[in-house]
């Protein structure tokens, strides 16, 4: 509870929390806010924004309502971001820890397995996976989770590499602590805070990756996403740049909100540590 109070006390946390709450509400009530299929043709094609009260943000090349697309796109983006970030964090942490701790004496194969995935560019991996399994929402989530895995595992390993050379780890070794116990009780607590702060960044990265995949035409074609809206608007970029600009702004606001929330959370957590 105190963490939540601390979180709302920081300006970053407050703004981030409010923005995320609004976005979540929009995503939850998207069917009520703009009923019907957002991909259906609703009016005249290429209506300019702020001219027709029926379509406040205008319509695209096929006459689809831009506002409806943005409202429904919030659903896809938030859901995908959360799902991808939840998909494998524990596993990641374990691999990072294992690779870091066993680094010296472990068999090359074991280290190799932990290091193979991080050498692959996350986006290429997502691209390859997506092209194999075909574009659908669960596939995109898995592809992003596979790709997003690399960063935290590598960062955890780097942190572990540094922490495990510290004196208290040597002391723990001297008093005969089991390596697993050292990893869990001595190293993990010192490695966790930066990794936690990073998981919010994974949500943001997942949202951005999904947008980039849809932008390249590898998203789920049956779902509206901001990335696919930007790609669609790109065809008429010279005459109607608003088609790409509005969903882009929605993306930026969402990602900023996630970052602010993570900053506030980081501050709230470090305050708690200071008080303890």
């Amino acid at each position: 509870m105190r963490v939540v109070r601390n979180l709302l006390a920081t300006p970053e946390g407050m703004i981030g929390f409010v923005l995320i709450a609004v976005l979540a509400l929009v995503a939850l009530f998207a069917p009520a806010l703009s009923p019907g299929d957002p991909l259906r043709i609703a009016g005249r094609a290429l209506t300019a924004p702020f001219t027709d009260p029926a379509f406040p943000l205008g319509t695209d090349r096929l006459g689809r309502d831009v506002l409806a697309g943005i409202v429904h796109g919030a659903r896809t983006s938030l859901l995908l971001g959360l799902a991808a970030a939840c998909a494998a964090p524990a596993l990641r942490l374990c691999v990072g820890l294992a690779a870091g701790v066993s680094g010296g004496g472990g068999a090359p194969g074991r280290v190799g397995a932990g290091r193979a995935l991080p050498t692959l560019p996350p986006f290429l991996l997502a691209l390859a996976f997506d092209s194999v399994a075909g574009p659908s929402v669960p596939v995109v989530v898995l592809a992003i989770a596979l790709g997003a895995w690399a960063d935290p595992a590598r960062l955890t390993r780097a942190q572990v590499l540094s922490v495990r050379e510290r004196d208290y780890v040597a002391s723990a070794r001297v008093i005969g602590m089991h390596p697993a116990e050292i990893a869990l009780r001595e190293i993990l607590p010192n490695v966790l805070p930066p990794v936690l702060a990073l998981s919010a960044i994974i949500v943001a990265a997942a949202i951005l990756t999904e947008a980039a995949l849809s932008f390249l035409g590898l998203g789920d074609p049956n779902v509206v996403t901001w990335g696919s809206m930007i790609a669609e608007g790109r065809n008429v970029l010279r005459s109607s740049p608003f088609l790409s600009v509005f969903p882009g702004i929605a993306l930026v606001v969402t990602v900023i909100a996630v970052y602010l929330l993570s900053e506030g959370l980081g501050k709230a957590l470090s305050d708690r540590e200071g008080a303890a």
Binding site: A128, G147, S244, V255
Partner: protein, 329 residues
């Protein structure tokens, strides 16, 4: 130096199984794809009968069993042969070697620019955590970092290439311009301004944030207090003591980013129509060209391993604790 060399040798030997795992995993993953390059090719020429498909598959060796093809692939990899691209009807290695320089140029300039400007601004912000200067820079970098690269690229090209017409919209150089020497270099540079600026802006924000966060952590350590009590000048403390120690996470981040930047090049190269490595990946996906995609993924793994070898050496040189407990392998 001895310590660094030992670390290098151990890492280099450790990379061989890593690469093998990457190759086998990629091969198996892409094996699961529905349809192959012959299907995509026949679709693109408007269809063909089963006999043509079969003879094409036999010609490209696609009719053999999966383990047999994996074995052929691995053994030809030993000769640095990455196989044959069906979509381009050319050797995969030639295609990749042809595209890599463009991507190196793009990534190298963007990384150098963003690292230099980002860490410098990070030092400015981190010199006095909590100051007005720090807050302005931190907020700006947060907003910048939240912008998706492909959207930033589109907006920049709307403003500077379409509206203002200052810079070319796409490509790596003017087609068939017949330029040579310096004038060609200037032409390529003009084409690279927007993509490099797009990538550099996003990564600059990242480096700034990591540098600032690292410095804020170091300020709390005892040796900084000690340096202050010794009466060292503020500039000396900021640069020699705080910034130097905060460089470590930044160097780690640079290694991490090498993989992410290679991936990011896919989208940026596709927006600015730069015939580079990333665009080749997208072309491989749309052409269902498994051999090409495998070659691209393996090549990028090699590149990332090489970058991280260098990063590990730099890291060991900067932080005496890393590798201190390692006995020679």
């Amino acid at each position: 130096m001895n310590r660094a060399l030992r670390l290098l040798r151990r890492r280099a030997i450790g990379s061989i199984p890593v690469l093998l795992i990457v190759v086998v995993l990629t091969f198996l993953l892409l094996e699961a794809a529905a349809g192959d390059a012959v299907d995509a090719y026949l679709l693109s020429i408007g269809g063909g009968d089963a006999a043509i498909a079969q003879s094409l598959r036999a010609a490209y060796g696609l009719d053999q069993s999966m383990p047999a093809r994996l074995w052929v692939y691995l053994s030809s990899l030993g000769r640095l042969d990455l196989g044959w691209s069906v979509a381009f009807d050319r050797p995969v290695r030639d295609l990749i070697l042809e595209r890599l320089p463009n991507t190196f140029l793009l990534m190298g300039s963007a990384t150098a620019l963003s690292f230099a400007v980002g860490s410098a601004l990070g030092i400015v912000a981190g010199a006095k955590p909590g100051s007005a200067r720090d807050r302005v820079l931190s907020t700006l970098s947060l907003m910048l970092y939240a912008i998706p690269g492909f959207w930033l690229g589109l907006v920049l090209s709307i403003v500077f290439a379409v509206q203002l017409r200052w810079l070319p919209t796409s490509g790596i150089e003017t087609i068939a311009s017949g330029r040579t020497g310096l004038s060609r270099a200037a032409d390529i540079a003009a084409h690279l301004v927007l993509p490099v600026a797009t990538l550099a802006l996003v990564y600059m924000a990242l480096f700034l944030r990591v540098m600032r966060a690292g410095m804020a952590d170091v300020w709390r350590l005892d040796f900084v207090l000690f340096a202050q009590s010794k009466g060292l000048s503020r500039a000396r403390i900021v640069l020699r003591h705080v910034a130097r120690n905060a460089l470590l996470p930044l160097v780690t981040m640079l290694g991490l980013q090498s993989a992410a930047m290679l991936g990011g090049s896919v989208v940026i190269e596709s927006i600015f129509a730069i015939p580079g490595f990333g665009r080749l990946a997208q072309e491989a996906v749309s052409g269902r060209d498994t051999a090409l995609l495998t070659g691209i993924i393996v090549t990028s793994a090699v590149l990332v391993i090489l970058v991280n070898l260098v990063i590990d050496i730099v890291y060991a040189a900067l932080d005496p604790r890393v590798g201190a407990s390692e006995r020679g392998a």
